[in-house]
């Protein structure tokens, strides 16, 4: 009889390369040997379709287009002080709470990386004033509208050589942060910034 349970590590590792993330998790739950092999290294699969993140009141929902399936992933850390997802890239969420504290959060490993507060200069004061005068003057609105878009240049699980870049204050300011920086570096611009893409790795 064919002994699939005890296939060599080499063979199993080759198979793992071709599994999607949820298939890889279920693979590790088949038997003890497969569990050990699946826990040996970081899962770096072949290219696969990115998941869509949808923020609901209770759980974030993740849609995996290759399976046409929605996963509800419970992340208790997200419920502390009303965290909201301002963006996602390389498998990480960029989240912001009601006090406008920003962090990076990996929904699968639950790892978190705290980032400094975004600097409020004269423009920030204007934003605050604008908020006070309008419907934005609710903590939730302020939180949701502060960051327009946020992206990462690389996966923080794999190396500390990455950059976080955000467009904030609606869409008029561009700022970036690298691991080890105490503050954000703001790029002053008089025009509105419309978009930022993940492909800015050459900027270093």
């Amino acid at each position: 009889m064919a002994d699939y349970a005890n296939l060599s590590r080499d063979i199993l590792q080759t198979i793992i390369k071709y599994l999607s993330f949820p298939d890889y998790i279920r693979f590790g739950a088949v038997c003890s040997h497969w569990f050990d092999v699946s826990n040996e290294g970081y899962h770096s699969p072949q290219k696969q379709l990115p998941w869509l993140v949808c923020f609901d009141i209770d759980f974030p929902k993740f849609f995996n287009p290759s399976e046409e399936k929605v996963y509800q992933i419970e992340i208790p850390e997200l419920h502390t002080h009303g965290r909201y997802c301002a963006g996602s890239s390389h498998g990480w969420l960029i989240t912001i709470d009601l006090d406008l504290n920003i962090n990076l959060m990996n929904p699968f490993s639950k790892a978190q990386i705290d980032l400094p507060l975004l600097p409020f200069d004269t423009f920030g004061v204007r934003y605050q004033k604008l908020c006070e005068l309008s419907w934005l003057n609710y903590p939730k609105q302020k939180r949701d509208k502060l960051i327009y878009k946020a992206v990462l240049s690389a996966d923080p699980s794999k190396s500390s050589d990455y950059i976080v870049m955000v467009i904030y204050f609606a869409n008029s300011k561009l700022a970036f942060w690298r691991p080890g920086d105490i503050t954000w570096i703001v790029i002053n611009s008089h025009s509105f910034v419309e978009d930022v893409s993940q492909d800015f790795s050459d900027l270093k």
Binding site: Y4, L7, D23, R26, V30, C31, F35
Partner: protein, 163 residues
């Protein structure tokens, strides 16, 4: 006296005999046998005059593997090869004992293209299957420890929502 080598002899010199674990003999062209990195190394160091024993591979498996190597040494168009590979795998995966032995042999003989083809096929067989379905299909016992099970469920419980 000068030896005259006929074309036929030249062709013949490029042939190599492989012997399976159950003593079945296969005579194939050298370029076909070369698809296996292991056999290539043996041929490089020992020549191709005497038969090469492939001790860990049985006749039916070696036959199928050589069929693959022969097809892949012809340099045909990619679409033709993809179609052929698919048919080859469709046939192989129907018999899980055969599929298992083919997987082991392709690794042992180090035929990288075939190793990858089989891994992709295997991954396809696991796609969207629950651990229990996988165990049943491949006749695997659930010997996870309590700690392992707990670790999986607390960290990745979401992956086990009904598919």
């Amino acid at each position: 006296m000068a030896t005259i080598i006929t074309k036929e002899q030249q062709e013949k010199e490029k042939m190599v005999t492989l012997v399976s674990s159950d003593s079945e003999k296969f005579v194939v062209e050298q370029k076909v046998a070369e698809k296996s990195h292991v056999i290539k190394m043996v041929m490089n160091c020992c020549g191709i005059e005497s038969p090469i024993p492939v001790r860990r591979v049985k006749g039916d498996i070696l036959k199928s593997i050589l069929e693959y190597c022969e097809k892949h040494s012809k340099g045909e168009a990619q679409e033709v090869m993809e179609k052929w590979d698919k048919e080859y795998m469709d046939k192989a995966e129907k018999d899980l004992v055969f599929f298992h032995d083919l997987m082991l042999a392709s690794h042992f003989l180090h035929i990288q293209e075939l190793v990858d083809l089989i891994a992709v096929t295997f991954a396809g067989m696991l796609k969207m299957k629950s651990p229990e379905e996988i165990r049943q299909k491949f006749n695997i016992n659930n010997d996870l420890t309590k700690e392992q099970e707990e670790h999986i469920m607390t960290t990745f419980g979401w992956a086990f929502q009904p598919i």
